[in-house]
Amino acid sequence: MFRDITLGQYYPEQSIIHRLDPRVKLLGTLVYIITLFIGKSFFVYIPAAVFLVMIIALSRVPVSYVMRGVKPIIPLIIISAAFNIILTPGNDIVSFGIIHITSEGIYMAIFMAVRLFFLITGSSILTLTTTPTALTDGLEKGLRFLIIFKVPVHEIAMMMSIALRFIPILIEETDKIRKAQMARGADFESGNIMKRAKAMIPLLVPLFVSAFRRASDLAMAMEARCYHGSQGRTRMKPLVYKRLDFIAYGIIGAYLATVIIMRACGL
């Protein structure tokens, strides 16, 4: 169950999207998310869908692999859809007591579900096509200006990339602990929600202990390899904009403009 999580995983491939500067991809993702929230009707999803399909095709990441990242979010989508159906006021279609299902509610539910779906797929493309280190470099360089506000940009970026690196390791570990506890009679599958939540404790405690141990090991290994913050650090893969990146910026700009114009036209 845990091994299906592809959130924050890198998919190695040689594609145009993989080669793009991480700053371009970060900005692109940000623009993409913003456009999803600009639109008021389903029409906004047309350019978004075109944009997304184009990117996935260019990235050469198999669609099934991208969808695996969406799977764990499905319960969230269902819950939000349920709330939308129940809580949106409007013309009743069916009503049981205090629960009113309205046509506006159903519309909103579908609208939001599609939005969430686009949101997750779009942002997972970012991590699927960018190595954590490139992502860190991109964030670090793109957010360099925050240093004036004394934001430790390098440190935050480093922490993020290490967190991403350790996701699969900790997932594997969770699986191992789970099996070990099950072998000793722990029951994770039955009972109501409270009971199941309680059953998670013998899973989480060893996981946390081991995560701390790993953190301290890693800190020592990093120190042993002369890590001392961003000071005097050089780059193996320095970020330099190439022609491809400017073209990508152009496409992102054009996409944003399309959505804004659509919104201005009242769609």
Binding site: S161, R165, R214, A224, R225, C226, Y227, R233, T234, M236
Partner: protein, 284 residues
């Protein structure tokens, strides 16, 4: 000139009881001295809790002795100004391969050390290439380290240290979590680096089979060096090794027992070939 020179170092870990009051500190090193010359292959043997890992951390300035001194290539580890230079000179590989990897791509992982010491970009690429070639992992330069086998991960970890051009590599039980195949690969790489590139290797282990090919062996127990010498000298003292709860290679035990029952064999036989040769040359 000796690349490592540890003189009578003492180190104690502070301890606290359940209420958080300081209690008697745990003495991990109690006057350890060790000299290593450039190009030597040295093994440090000891069972768990003998202080061998604590000693390893002193060679990389991760720990600084409470008493005594450690000099790496002439630099005092207690001087803060030298810390980075020392870590560049004496690289360190740890036991758990997963916990020492920073990046999700092999070449970036190997480049991490050179990046930290401010090597120019083109030079980093050259170093990464030659380091990965030296451990035979160049074909995997774009892989995810998580997908490699334990032995491969550990070879990448060695490459990561090599990329910093160290004069000396300290390995703290690098093979403890590996299967026999991975263990052999890692040891072959280490011996190769030692012979071909003249890198000084300090291998910390409790596996006897890894000791036989080294130049010198130090045996640690309770924070002290209790024996030191060539593998032949060390393993000829079978009874003493047993009293320290350390194994001796099976061939050596066999030779020792044969000698006890009257065969005039020499001490410290380490390989079966050697034993066969010795027995064949006996005139009975």
């Amino acid at each position: 000139m000796s690349i490592i020179s540890a003189k009578k170092i003492k180190y104690a870990y502070p301890r606290k009881d359940d209420e958080g009051n300081e209690t008697e500190p745990f003495v991990a090193l109690d006057g350890v001295s060790l000299e290593a010359n450039e190009g030597e292959f040295i093994t440090i043997l000891g069972h768990n809790g003998s202080g061998k890992s604590t000693f390893a951390k002193h060679l990389n300035a991760l720990l600084v002795p409470d008493e005594g001194s450690v000099f790496i290539d002439g630099m005092d580890t207690s001087e803060d100004d030298y810390t980075l230079k020392i870590r560049e000179t004496a690289g360190m590989v740890f036991q758990n391969p997963d916990n020492q990897m920073v990046s999700s791509v092999v070449d970036e992982e190997v480049g991490f050390g050179p990046e930290n010491i401010g090597v120019p970009t083109e030079e980093i690429w050259k170093r990464v290439e030659s380091a990965l070639n030296a451990v035979g992992m160049y074909a995997y330069k774009e892989s995810n380290p998580g997908r490699l086998s334990g032995g491969q991960k550990q070879r990448v970890a060695i490459a990561s240290v090599l990329a910093m051009n160290p004069k000396c590599i300290v390995l703290d039980e690098p093979t403890a979590m590996l299967d026999p195949g991975g263990r052999k690969d890692v040891l072959d790489v280490l011996h190769d680096l030692n012979k071909r590139n003249g890198v000084t290797v300090i291998l910390i282990t409790h596996n006897m089979e890894e000791v036989t090919a080294s130049d010198r062996v130090f045996v640690m127990d309770k924070g002290r060096v209790v024996m030191n010498g060539t593998p032949e000298e060390i393993f000829s003292r079978v009874e003493e090794m047993k009293s320290l709860r350390l194994d001796v290679p099976k061939v050596t035990i066999l030779a020792h027992e044969l000698k006890k029952s009257g065969l005039p064999l020499k001490d410290g036989i380490l390989t079966s070939e050697e034993l066969v040769r010795e027995i064949m040359s006996l005139r009975i």
